[in-house]
Symmetry: C2
Amino acid sequence: MKKTYLFTPGPTQIPPEVVLAEASPMIHHRTSEFSEIFANVSEDLKYIFQTKDGEVFTFASSGTGGMEACVVNSVSRGDKAIVISGGKFGERWAQICETYGVNVVKIDVENGKAVKPDDLDEAIKKEEDVKAVFTTLSETSTGVVHDIEAIAKVVKGHNLLLVVDGISGIGVQPFRMDDWGIDIAVTGSQKGFMLPPGLAFVCVAKSAWESIEKSDLPKYYWSFKKMQKALNNKTTAYTPAISLIMAAGKSIEMIKSEGIENVWSRHARLANATREGMKALGLELFAGDDSGNVLTAVKIPEGVTFDAGIKKLRDETGVTIAGGQDELKGKMFRVGHMGYVNEFDIILAASAVEKILHENGYKVELGKGISKIQEILVG
Amino acid sequence: MKKTYLFTPGPTQIPPEVVLAEASPMIHHRTSEFSEIFANVSEDLKYIFQTKDGEVFTFASSGTGGMEACVVNSVSRGDKAIVISGGKFGERWAQICETYGVNVVKIDVENGKAVKPDDLDEAIKKEEDVKAVFTTLSETSTGVVHDIEAIAKVVKGHNLLLVVDGISGIGVQPFRMDDWGIDIAVTGSQKGFMLPPGLAFVCVAKSAWESIEKSDLPKYYWSFKKMQKALNNKTTAYTPAISLIMAAGKSIEMIKSEGIENVWSRHARLANATREGMKALGLELFAGDDSGNVLTAVKIPEGVTFDAGIKKLRDETGVTIAGGQDELKGKMFRVGHMGYVNEFDIILAASAVEKILHENGYKVELGKGISKIQEILVG
């Protein structure tokens, strides 16, 4: 008997109530019934992004599609953009920008470190005519959280456009679109939102529209202007992913009911306990003090073949944790703890990590990690 | 008590078995479990497109996103493309091409008519240096089906690239990628596939790759090359819409089990009965002899306020049929009969149409439409 537990950094577990909403009878999207659902979701999304004046557009796409939408709407060919790159997803901003002929200046942050706001400030001063800064809230590939509030202060000090990839971070880490002065932020459904993948949510502040009006990059499906016009009519520009939007209605209701600040605190508490549990096993965090609350990235100890253990665990028990991506494969593992996660899930995840270590040649005092977590969460 | 029946031209009704598959426990996409599901779906999709040598890429997007993918991968800036436009969706090819600086020559076919292959032949001869022809299998806005087999003969005679929007048509109308020599075709999940919206399937024949290699239009999310590389590893380039792909596994299994040619015949039989039922009520088909089997588009008789009747019917009974789009609003109504539809559904839909007519000032002999359908389908 296998029981599926996803501790992957997206997709995450889906609450049964949300699955039921997803399985609701299909309805047509050009009806008042759908418009009402969609208008509510779009309004509640503003709460998740913590914006009053911004608008949130819902695309049928993965998060990467939402990132491409941010680029093609906000800058123009030949514009200079600073990209903060410290992992696979920061790097993705650079790749998308370069695809469209945007002149990219990269700040290469060491993998596992957050950018220093002063370094960003210097980079902006050194370059001429920078138009925009693209950055990441939670770098899913390394577990790092960047200090977006501090980054925003620097960027706004230079009066530049700030675009944030909040795909794994929003709904998990504190994020305040209006108070921090973010111009554009994007997130995906399969992370803190407790939804299946397939939706990208893009929040556009009023302050972004001057740049959007000027942008000359080609766009059709991703056009913010078309999405804005459609949103004013309580719909999307093209056929929406109806079942996922019905699911979103339920999951966002659950987040609202818990309260976004309580959701952030819950994640902080669970992430802290996970980090301490891993350290109690003698393991080292990949992102050290820059670790976020989205996932815990842990260095794989010398001599341990952890990735085979992940596969064996998944095949035998249904419990799924993730390895490293690309050049980090075999060097770290990642325990996702976002969305539909409580303290017992954390105990379970840590128990699974202990099991893998024990079975793969790492001398571990069984129970030491979960006991530490128990102490922190229950004590 | 309302019972939802969708006779809209997408989304369509979802079989309960498919909803259950959609509601399966979420799994992670970078696992052998997902790879197996995805490889099966990708292989079975080739059967639906009727291709052996082509590959099918699955995008998390609406059909329009899939259309944009076709454009940005197949042609280059300044290329000349002929677009067959005879409705909203033919027009969409032109809009997307123009967005990317493709030089569009439109063949404006009258709304409600199919293109004459000879007219296409003449247009190609008249123009110099045409690279590609973009056309539509089933024009959802008018109910017209274009003769893709004949169009392909013309296009191949001139050795041009043929790109087909089969969004509402594939899985409903006969369509043979290989035998007809189509280079690229796109479809969406929410039509004949009996799935919720949110997936676009793009089939790319070997013959298309020379153009794809040459294409200089910017693409990231829509890149066929990245999707091909990912497909070789039994996955997608970016996070797939996992729950919809699990649903697709089930719905495509149902189509395979019925047999694609039987699926086409079923639609032909039901569409024919629907058309005859409408004519028995004294109504005129919008697309006349060019009507396809995807939906039945019917002219609204003078003096009948049909659109208000559609809304009332939906609100009171849950039965949903569709009006006209854009400039055809108020001029026609559309009864979708694709996917999870049998003879009793057609009787029900026609009964709903009779009810609306009766309640909105059109003198109708009640039962005349459904009797005609009964005769054809049961007799």
